[in-house]
Symmetry: C2
Subunit: 379 residues, 2 copies
Amino acid sequence: MLKRYLLAPGPTPVPPEVLLSMAMPMIHHRSPDFIPVLESARKGLQWLFQTKNDVLILSSSGTGGMVGSVNNFFNAGDKALVINGGKFGERWAKICQSYGLKVEEMAVEWGYTVKPADVEAKLKNDPDIKGVFVQAVETSTGVYHDIEGLGKAIKNFPNTLFIVDAISAIVAQDLKTDEWGVDIMVGGSQKGLMLPPGLAFVSVSDKAWKANEKSKLPRFYFNFKKERENLVKNQTNFSSPVTLIIGLNEAVKMLQNEGLENVFARHARLANATREAVKALGLSLYSKESPSNAVTAIEMPDGIDGQAVYKTLREKYGVTGAGGQDRAKGKIYRLAHLGYADTFDVIIGIAALEMTLKGMGANIELGKGVAKAQELLMQ
Amino acid sequence: MLKRYLLAPGPTPVPPEVLLSMAMPMIHHRSPDFIPVLESARKGLQWLFQTKNDVLILSSSGTGGMVGSVNNFFNAGDKALVINGGKFGERWAKICQSYGLKVEEMAVEWGYTVKPADVEAKLKNDPDIKGVFVQAVETSTGVYHDIEGLGKAIKNFPNTLFIVDAISAIVAQDLKTDEWGVDIMVGGSQKGLMLPPGLAFVSVSDKAWKANEKSKLPRFYFNFKKERENLVKNQTNFSSPVTLIIGLNEAVKMLQNEGLENVFARHARLANATREAVKALGLSLYSKESPSNAVTAIEMPDGIDGQAVYKTLREKYGVTGAGGQDRAKGKIYRLAHLGYADTFDVIIGIAALEMTLKGMGANIELGKGVAKAQELLMQ
């Protein structure tokens, strides 16, 4: 017998209330039954994305939302500035390239954040740049990029769109889409929103819709204009992922009951406890700047393989976190505190990490990280 | 947002596999659909109760099984020896008295166990005693009574039945019903069996069935002879609690996959870690002898009210354990490690207790109990 705990940065645990709502019998997405469901989801997403614009709901993984954010607003040959400070920065570059955009990468060392002033300087030198692409939380390094600062830097360039992959950030970080001038913000269901994978969300500004009129890139499945035309009639362009949208409404209801400020404060509290527990154990954070409130990336001690840590946590202790990706593979272990997460998720994650590292021969004092987390989480 | 954890000595958490099995559409208990369901349950219970006799399945709480264990085997005026070392020992006495039995109580100080030699001496002095009633685990004090020793002591008295309330003990303790000469063993669904409340189980020996023939106490709902007649036809006397029996089969399947020896070893391991963690914190066990593997009763430090501890654990940390009952009320707090319980249930319980006691001003070093539990649970 081994109880299982999901502490990965997506998918995250789905609350019982949401699971139950999704277990209700199927309704038809073109019937009147579905109208209030989608209407409620639209309103909920506007609240969560802190935007007055419609938030499109796509039946896809988060990456589908990223793809649509490229092929609906640009043209082949357009210059795109991609902030690349991790695995998902790379993904923006690959998507842009696959549609023929000219990608200029602003490389950021893994574990560090982009400086808004650098982006502003770049745009001043090259006003032809049509879009700046970034992650709010770069999941592979645990870093939160300064979306507010970037928004301010980009706002003054009328021909440049600001596109944010907030898939891992939504719910964990306070993202003021409209106020900060984010033109396109992409979210996904399987992270802070406490749902299974299968939904992408995209908010689109007026400025972006104007760019959409001039975009000629091929698109059929991710056709945002058609999605918007359907959305105002409380429909989606193709078969609606009914179950997930019913679950979304339940999840948003839970978040609304908690209150958005409290939701952010909870994530900040859990993230802080995790980080301080890690430091108390004598370990280092992989995020050298601006660690996110969604996931904590932890450097492994010398001689300890992060992939072996991942495996032992899963197989011996039932805890599924995440290892490192790409160049961080083997070097780090990641614990999420994202979505349906509370005090004892941090305690479980830290306790299991302590036991695993100790069992692998690392110089770890059992309970020391837990005690630090307890101290902070008591407050 | 507050995640909830159930660490009470019943009801206990129900595993997802069992919940899902119980969410299947209803079947009819007098239709052929139900025959294999009940047949499987019968076999599973015989395996779990370590008996060749049929184990009756009653639609009631565990107390229903206790009542039936009195009114099916005795007569008004019969002498009953009741081992009373806690709240549930008292219950045996009350049930016997309500049916007119002459109750002789063998008082055992709360937190201590009955000595089989004392029972044997009593029976030698008074061979008229028709039944000895005891708890395997006295939930109110956390003590495990020596069922094997009592069985040996009682076995030689041909007119005396040995009746064991094993409601909190089944699954947590190795109880060899037949080998140890237990005539009537009562179980319930909501403890080690990882089910919701609603089922009682009673195994009955040949010796007890002989006594049943002479028993004239009034009975209609708990009529064991009729239950047995139905059971051999894979039926129950009245409407079968179909959903719970389907869940029972799923729960037994999980226990069989784990193996009975492993199930007992897991409970012993979790109980030991809990006890040692408690001691590492400088606290005392309320069970002065033979602490059970089902639940640990912890004495509260001077000046700390156990009921306030219960309330804070629930309301601030989402952890529902149990306070003390009756004379132990306010003096103890109880953490179960029973049924669907694993390593991190112990970690959560101890961590939450540490935080609660520390927050109430007790002299507690955060993480100290957790570290001891981690050390033991790593092995």
